[in-house]
Symmetry: C2
Subunit: 154 residues, 2 copies
DNA sequence: CCTGAAACAAGTAGGTG
DNA sequence: CACCTACTTGTTTCAGG
């Protein structure tokens, strides 16, 4: 993982349809060497997958909310994870420190559907309460920055 | 946007390197028709871009936290957005309802770096306080589900 | 890491219900 | 209008150095 790899990752994050020839031009290498590096990044798991970024509004889910789940038992187990995965509105689930146990990211069609999802979250065994943070507007969402932390060199 | 489009989106979310021939086989259409549909999904903005999913740990940012920013003035303006964008640790920023004004997703190398980012967030004009939710473990992160809400047909 | 060639996919054109 | 088959252009991928 050198600077060339990081440059490659940045280019591919921005547009993964770029040809190896174009990528090669961007980093000053031959197309074959570029190909080799990308293959290695895939094989080592740095690149987890090539995917598409879909507009949630176009999919009928313009409403976004973060829900903090409180629990009276441990809900960081596999069963809870399985139940959360079964809910198509849940995009992320994290075990968190603090008074809540779990943080989930939820996308729904509207507030009515959000309410229905909250009800389903309550139905998960161990869940004793929810605190919902409704997103009014998303300022930006972007991929993890591959470049070294700028302040490291201060 | 019919079921065929949604099936296409689901396939591409899972693996955007699939050839049109393979995609075509998955949805029972010719390669050219598949190509046409994908082009339309791109042109209409349903597919925002093709990108790679990079492991944040491999990029040296294994620590994840959500930070709620309180403000004593309005911080939903362009200047605040620009300042947040300038911080490479900030992956998402949302204007939220409730006592906080802004919710930001932050990835850092460790807790020390997280602390440094919090300090920078405080430096944004109008920010009067932060509440940090540290993620101990990510259960899952996945793309927006393209399929119709299962409970719609209940 | 490079050059170069073979296998393959993307993208285009023209035609059908 | 969405789909098909057939073709051209360009890209991926793999030798060998």
């Amino acid at each position: 993982m050198d600077d060339t790899d990081r440059a490659l990752l940045a280019l591919l994050q921005h547009d993964a349809t770029l040809s190896y020839t174009t990528l090669a031009g961007g980093i000053g290498l031959s197309s074959a060497a570029t190909h080799d590096r990308v293959r290695k990044l895939r094989d080592t798991g740095v690149i987890r997958r090539t995917t598409i970024d879909v507009d949630p509004t176009a999919l009928g889910r313009p409403t976004l909310a973060y829900v903090l789940l409180s629990a009276d038992t441990w809900i960081g187990d596999d069963d809870t994870a399985t139940r959360l995965r079964a809910l198509p509105w849940v995009e992320e689930a994290h075990i968190v420190a603090g008074s809540a146990s779990l943080l989930v990211k939820v996308r729904t069609a509207d507030n009515t559907e959000l309410q229905a999802v909250l009800r389903r979250l309550y139905d998960i065994p161990g869940v004793s309460g929810t605190q919902t943070i409704v997103v009014l507007d998303t300022v930006f969402e972007r991929p993890t920055n591959p470049h070294g932390n700028p302040t490291t060199h201060d």
